[in-house]
């Protein structure tokens, strides 16, 4: 009896203390989801399997998706998400061929305008019956246009290496 009473008393006392402390030390919930969404490309391309970046961010925040989910974001986005979530991942597993660009094969393009309607960043220009073109600076390489093209005139290719973009190779480890 004494044991029960003393234990209960102790528990109540400590619980009260903690309750008071919780009130004084309260913090707002971490707005993790919004922060994650800010890291994602935001092009809503759907390659991750979610409807859009907001849904992907929500899944990431719930821990239901892997940080490696975003192909257009590449390694950089994966790293940023992993850092935000505080998890370590093996980055070597993430395929990253560098940024990709969509290119239009001019001899096959029929100027149907279907691709430009789905491009999430409005990177495709061209009027009906005109050969379409892609603005390099705006293309995120998401590939949404690829499936839309009835003549398979669009392909992805790695961004060409130019002088200012050239990187010294990492020295071979002895």
């Amino acid at each position: 009896m004494l044991a029960v009473v003393s234990l209960t008393a102790l528990g109540i006392a400590l619980g009260t203390l903690l309750g008071v402390a919780a009130r004084y030390l309260a913090v707002e919930e971490n707005p993790l989801e919004a922060e994650l969404q800010a890291l994602l490309p935001g092009s809503q391309c759907g390659q991750c399997g979610f409807v859009g970046c907001a849904q992907a961010a929500a899944a990431l925040a719930r821990g239901e998706a892997s940080p490696t989910l975003c192909p257009p974001g590449g390694r950089a986005v994966t790293e940023a998400i992993a850092a935000k979530l505080g998890i370590r991942i093996d980055l070597s597993a993430v395929r990253d061929d560098g940024p990709l660009l969509a290119v239009v094969a001019e001899e096959i393009c029929t100027g149907c305008c279907r691709c430009s309607k789905v491009c999430p960043t409005d990177a495709i220009i061209g009027a009906a019956k005109q050969i379409h073109n892609i603005i390099r600076e705006a293309c995120t390489g998401c590939g949404a246009c690829l499936e839309r093209c009835p003549t398979e005139a669009i392909g992805l290719m790695p961004m060409p290496v130019t002088l200012p973009h050239w990187i010294w190779p990492k020295p071979a480890v002895a």
Binding site: S6, L7, L10, G11, L14, L25, V27
Partner: protein
């Protein structure tokens, strides 16, 4: 005075919680990937050990011993420790959200860190005075923090080393721990001598 000093050195270095008593190995291997994290963990655990040891001393001497409730010791001690951990968790979350994130699951797990309960139980056995037990607990946890920080530094360097695949990961961690324990054996004999 000299006895206190010797006792504290003994608790911190000679009978180090981690390296000589092999307590708290979970957090020793778990949160020592970075010096900052390990130092944070050390601080949090120092606080928990010191506070809960003092509280446990009071509980032991004014509640359990007078009423003959020795059989409730473990339960009550864990209750006290859990409360202290909860408090620490709230504080850390408020003061340093990044540390909170880095410590992750290991912060609430201080509750089950056997170093905490171990020190409290050791104190019961040694029947020290309140001041002495507070100092003993504090010194023990300082020794814990010291080893945590040292080990985190070593592991930061190990992370950059090209350890053979056979030993990479936990094996090399334990080898380092054993070498560290070997080095700490140099202190043996201080408190008794």
């Amino acid at each position: 005075m000299k006895e206190y000093a010797l006792m504290m050195i003994g608790a911190a270095l000679v009978n180090n919680v981690i390296l000589a008593r092999f307590l708290g190995l979970c957090s020793f291997m778990g949160v020592t990937t970075r010096i900052d994290t390990a130092a944070g963990m050390g601080l949090a655990t120092t606080f928990v050990i010191t506070v809960s040891s003092m509280a446990d001393w009071a509980v032991q001497n004014y509640l359990l011993a007078p009423f003959g409730l020795g059989f409730l010791r473990t339960v009550t001690f864990i209750l006290v420790i859990a409360s202290a951990v909860q408090f620490t968790e709230l504080t850390v979350r408020k003061v340093s959200p990044s540390l909170f994130q880095m410590l992750g699951i290991y912060l609430p797990l201080i509750t089950t860190n056997c170093a905490v309960l171990g020190v409290a139980l050791l104190l019961v056995e040694s029947r020290l005075s309140f001041l002495a037990s507070a100092l003993f607990a504090f010194a023990s946890s300082l020794g814990y923090s010291l080893v945590m920080v040292i080990f985190a530094g070593l592991r930061e360097r190990l992370a950059l080393a090209t350890v053979p695949r056979l030993f990479a990961g936990p094996p090399i961690g334990f080898i380092v721990a054993s070498l560290l324990a070997m080095a700490f054996m140099g202190f043996s004999g201080i408190s008794t001598g």
